[in-house]
């Protein structure tokens, strides 16, 4: 009997507990629509962190959100039709074409910069400094073809560029600056960093395209080459710069990372629209969090929760 009644009480207690967990969470404020705002999720850590911060902030303001796995470029098809609502990281350096095409249709809206700046440039591991003294100044490269050569490119150096579709005018740059290098393109950045890992393990020469914010410049010790700074004229006016007869005789443009949304988001969730527009974090915020996830093995949720805790004043301002 005793046992039975104990069981019964447990059952009741359990039911009460269930009732508590099942009760809808009270929203902080009334929101315009309880439909979930669909935020796209890609396949790199930095982006996980960004959407998690955005999502948590929106949730704190009472909005319903949902993360949807989507390809970085293919997502524009969904943003145009309103199947997807928000893309948090469109890089000036890699997503500009697709973004412009989408913006031109009028079905997609640019919600401004995330505050992070994309850096992309020629990059080398620190141990290459011994083999090519004078780095990071680009002029040192003129004498260093041999140092960066592989059997296929010798006596020229090998420069591993990004995917062809993320064009960075590297062939033009090599010609304009008269660098003894041959440009080879990786198809994806997965392949790119696989090569870096391989060369780094062997302390072999490598010169490649690296971008930030990313875990690679945090994990591997190295530097970006310092080319003459980019200006608009450099890419369009041949007479500008070191080489008076060629374009692209400078470094690569560094640009913002944009927030892009379905154009209907503004009418359906005006409040969320404002919060997303206010969202702003820096490269340092991001670098620290990405390193905590990829190098220390912490979970994205926990890293973001810590950040939200210590930076409460910042994100509270977004949602006010």
């Amino acid at each position: 009997m005793l046992r039975k009644s104990r069981g019964l009480m447990a059952l009741l207690g359990g039911a009460a507990l269930l009732g508590v967990t099942l009760a809808p969470q009270p929203a902080l404020s009334e929101v315009e629509s309880n439909d979930p705002i669909k935020i796209t999720r890609h396949d790199w850590t930095g982006q996980y962190v960004t959407i998690e911060i955005m999502g948590e902030a929106l949730k704190a303001a009472g909005y319903n959100i949902e993360y949807v796995q989507a390809d970085y470029i293919a997502q524009f098809a969904g943003l145009k039709t309103g199947d997807l609502h928000l893309a948090m990281e469109i890089w000036e350096t890699t997503g500009r074409d697709a973004m412009d095409e989408a913006l031109a249709t009028g079905k997609v809206e640019n919600l401004g910069e995330t505050g992070m700046k994309a850096i992309e440039e020629w990059w080398y591991p620190s141990y290459m400094k011994e083999k090519c003294p004078g780095l990071p100044n680009w002029e040192a490269l003129k004498a260093c073809g041999e140092a960066f050569a592989t059997s296929e490119t010798a006596p020229k150096g090998r420069y591993l560029g990004g995917p062809v579709s993320w064009e960075g005018r590297d062939e033009d740059r090599v010609a304009a600056l008269d660098l003894p290098f041959e440009v080879v393109h990786a198809g994806t950045d997965g392949a790119l960093f696989a090569e870096l890992e391989s060369a780094y393990q062997r302390k072999d020469p490598i010169m490649l395209w690296v971008y930030a914010p990313h875990w690679a410049p945090v994990k591997y010790e190295g530097e970006w080459v310092e080319f003459p700074a980019y200006t608009k004229e450099c890419y369009t006016d041949a007479s500008w710069g070191v080489n008076g007869d060629a374009e692209a005789d400078c470094g690569k443009p560094r640009g913002p990372i944009w927030k892009v949304a379905w154009a209907g988001l503004k009418d359906k969730w005006p409040g969320a629209h404002k919060i997303i527009t206010n969202f702003n974090i820096t490269n340092d915020d991001m670098g620290g969090m990405v390193a905590a996830v990829d190098l220390e093995g912490k979970k994205v949720e926990n890293v973001v929760a810590d950040w939200m805790e210590t930076n409460k004043d910042r994100w509270m301002k977004w949602i006010q």
């Binding site: 269930l18 080879v184 198809g187 997965g190």
Partner: protein
């Protein structure tokens, strides 16, 4: 006979001709080939200065069809209407119909039944616990065959649990459980139509070729717009890719049904429907199962691409692991896909073999006796479901303390702390090879590249397009007269006219080398395995694995050891395309008529003679079909090779995707398909002639 053996140059056993010229005239095809090849070589060597246009297709002549295709797609997706509703509304409705059953399966296996949406959703009923799913698959195995199958299925699913792949695997399994049956049913109907009317068959054959060979990237964006950005689009893309073999097999299988059976059906007065479903399809089941196997394998092969479109699941895990160079994570998620494929395949094969259950015996017995498996599974599901909920947990901890509570929660979700991972192990192996053997690997690769690969590529790219088109026409004429000649010339001309000739040549170079290597590896293995049952079973498992293990899993380590570029791409293509070379060779040899082998033995053949003079000769047409499939699969791998930086047509579709140019992507995709179709038709015609000559038909 003695004469010909003395003079081997004379040819196929005819008497020696009086003069070489006379001899040539009697063979017009040979004469034509000699003249054509001679002229082509001459033109290739000396034509460049005065006919530049024939070497590099002038951009002024380019047919700018891609813009029109882009505009057409735009119209179709945004404006096309049937009056009452638009085209997009129609596709969205289809999408809705597919989505509903998917949501139910997903709720059952992964998310639980929810109220509300997004982050505010509340779980009303939890999903099936892992113990319940395991019980179901083991008993299902026992039910359709025996405990051995049950153990195999249980083992596969236990891997998912222990290696922490459960959650993602259930998402993938849900979409496969919808996409595969839908694909099979759709393919069966299309196949039936093709069986009933030759006209339909002719119409769908090229469509099937396109479905199999146009890289997914080419039509990804239109599919997403038409069907929405969700798991349904991923399933549609999966079905497009996985259906064609099933359609082909259906038509073949129905034709192979012995006419006696069909006659019997007619005699007993079957209606057309009864004839189809009670006579034709049941008797064709063994062959149809080959198609089912292919649908399952190819569907799981698409998991990676599907995850890019919003299917999530294991494919997303593979991609994310490899992006952060976590090889172990990639391999574990990759093998989860393989085990799912093996489990589903073996289960479906066993189901097909199982005779339909007899009903009616035991009507007076209780429900437990009548449906023991169903009752037991339901009980396990309910009990584990209740134990695992929050009140189950609080109850357990109240009775037996916190540890009981923990065990109780583990019934629903396998605790993370109990999972195993091999993560660092794989990275360490690759690091070891990389640090110690890279120089040797690099030297070997360099040797192959400079001596064979690069010269071959230069040769192909330097060929004048006009000569290639004409030679293809001649080849078509030789094997299939005017029809085939026209087909080959029109399709190859299309590639030149849209301005993708050079990219197409690089594609042919990559696939050509890969097919050569794959055949050189695959055919001997197929020959060896065909004659030994036990070896065949091992080989079969390996090729099934190669076909379903996402190539990404081994592509990144390959890139670490061989660097970005064509060499890595070739390795990936060979690994994938070797499977059909093995399969068809073995299949061809195994189905050689035993009487003919007997005849060979009786006439005193040595085992070697038996193989080369009897078995291989008779299996030749089948081996050619294997070659055909090897070519198809290597072309379908272009999507993946594009990701390691080759500059072929696959890359072109990828660039078109990233720049949001639908038309460009579709044109490049069509070029890939046309290469495949030319190769396919020529080989098929060749195999057909061979078969007639050998008297097999």
């Amino acid at each position: 006979m003695a004469e010909t053996s003395i003079n081997p140059h004379v040819g196929d056993g005819n008497n020696a001709a009086p003069s070489p010229l006379d001899w040539l005239i009697r063979r017009p095809m040979l004469l034509a080939w000699t003249v054509a090849l001679g002229a082509a070589t001459f033109f290739w060597l000396f034509g460049q200065p005065w006919a530049k246009w024939a070497f590099k297709y002038p951009s002024a002549w380019k047919w700018k069809i891609s813009k029109e295709i882009s505009a057409g797609m735009e119209w179709l997706m945004n404006e096309a209407t049937f009056g009452l509703f638009t085209f997009r509304e129609l596709t969205r409705a289809i999408s809705w119909v597919i989505e509903k059953p998917y949501e139910i399966v997903l709720s059952l296996l992964s998310t639980g039944f929810l109220e509300g949406q997004g982050s505010q959703a509340i779980q009303i009923i939890p999903p099936l616990s892992w113990i319940a799913v395991l019980t179901v698959v083991v008993l299902l195995g026992r039910y359709v065959k025996d405990w051995k199958l049950g153990a195999l299925l249980g083992g596969c699913f236990l891997y998912l649990v222990v290696f922490g792949q459960w959650e993602s695997a259930m998402v993938t399994l849900s979409s496969i459980m919808i996409a595969v049956p839908l694909g099979i049913i759709a393919a069966l109907f299309v196949g039936l139509l093709g069986y009933r009317s030759v006209w339909v068959e002719r119409a769908i054959t090229p469509v099937l070729d396109l479905m199999q060979t146009v890289p997914v990237f080419a039509y990804l964006v239109p599919v997403l717009i038409m069907f929405g950005f969700n798991a349904v689009s991923a399933m549609i893309a999966t079905m497009i890719y996985a259906m064609p073999p099933m359609v082909r097999v259906t038509m073949l299988a129905l034709r192979q049904v012995p006419s006696e059976i069909v006659d019997l059906g007619t005699m007993v007065g079957c209606t057309r429907r009864q004839m189809t479903w009670k006579v034709l399809i049941p008797s064709a089941v063994p062959t149809l199962m080959i198609g089912v196997n292919q649908v399952i394998m190819l569907s799981l092969n698409m998991v990676i691409i599907a995850s890019m479109i919003g299917a999530g699941g294991l494919g997303a895990d593979v991609l994310a692991s490899l992006r952060s160079l976590n090889f172990g994570g990639g391999i574990e998620a990759g093998f989860a896909i393989v085990f799912l494929a093996i489990a589903l395949d073996r289960l479906s094969q066993a189901m097909a073999e199982k005779a339909p259950a007899s009903h009616g015996d035991g009507q007076n017995e209780g429900i437990l006796k009548k449906y023991p498996y169903t009752v037991f599974c339901t009980a396990v599901a309910l009990i584990t479901g209740i134990v695992g909920t929050s009140w189950g947990v609080s109850w357990a901890s109240w009775i037996g303390g916190p540890s009981w509570g923990m065990y109780s929660a583990a019934v629903q979700d396998y605790p993370e702390a109990w999972t195993i991972t091999t993560g660092a192990f794989w990275s360490d192996i690759i690091k070891h090879i990389n640090v110690n053997y890279f120089d040797y690997i690099d030297a070997f690769k360099g040797m192959l590249l400079t001596n064979f690969l690069v010269p071959f590529k230069r040769f192909l790219v330097s060929l004048p397009w006009i000569a290639v088109v004409l030679l293809l026409g001649l080849a078509g004429y030789t094997l299939g007269r005017w029809r085939l000649a026209c087909l080959c010339m029109v399709l190859s001309l299309f590639i030149a006219v849209v301005g993708l000739w050079e990219k197409a040549m690089i594609t042919i170079y990559l696939c050509g080398i890969s097919v050569l290597v794959a055949s050189m590896i695959g055919m001997p293995i197929g020959i060896a395995a065909a004659q030994r049952d036990r070896l065949w079973r091992v080989v079969q498992t390996i090729i099934d694995t190669l076909q379903t293990l996402p190539s990404f899993v081994y592509l990144m380590p390959v890139v670490m050891l061989f660097r970005v570029g064509e060499f890595s791409a070739i390795i990936a293509v060979v690994a994938y395309a070797v499977a059909p070379a093995v399969r068809y060779t073995a299949h061809g040899i195994r189905q050689v008529d035993p009487q003919l082998i007997e005849a060979g033995i009786v006439s005193g053949c040595t085992p070697f003679q038996l193989l080369t003079k009897v078995k291989l000769k008779l299996a030749f047409p089948e081996i050619m079909l294997g070659l055909n499939q090897t070519i198809m699969l290597s072309l379908s791998m272009l999507v993946i090779t594009a990701l390691v930086g080759t500059r072929d047509l696959g890359q072109e579709t990828l660039i078109a995707l990233t720049r949001a140019r639908t038309g460009d992507g579709i044109v490049a995709g069509l070029c890939v398909a046309f290469i495949a179709i030319i190769a396919d038709r020529l080989i098929r015609a060749g195999a057909e002639r061979m078969r007639t000559r050998l008297g097999l038909q």
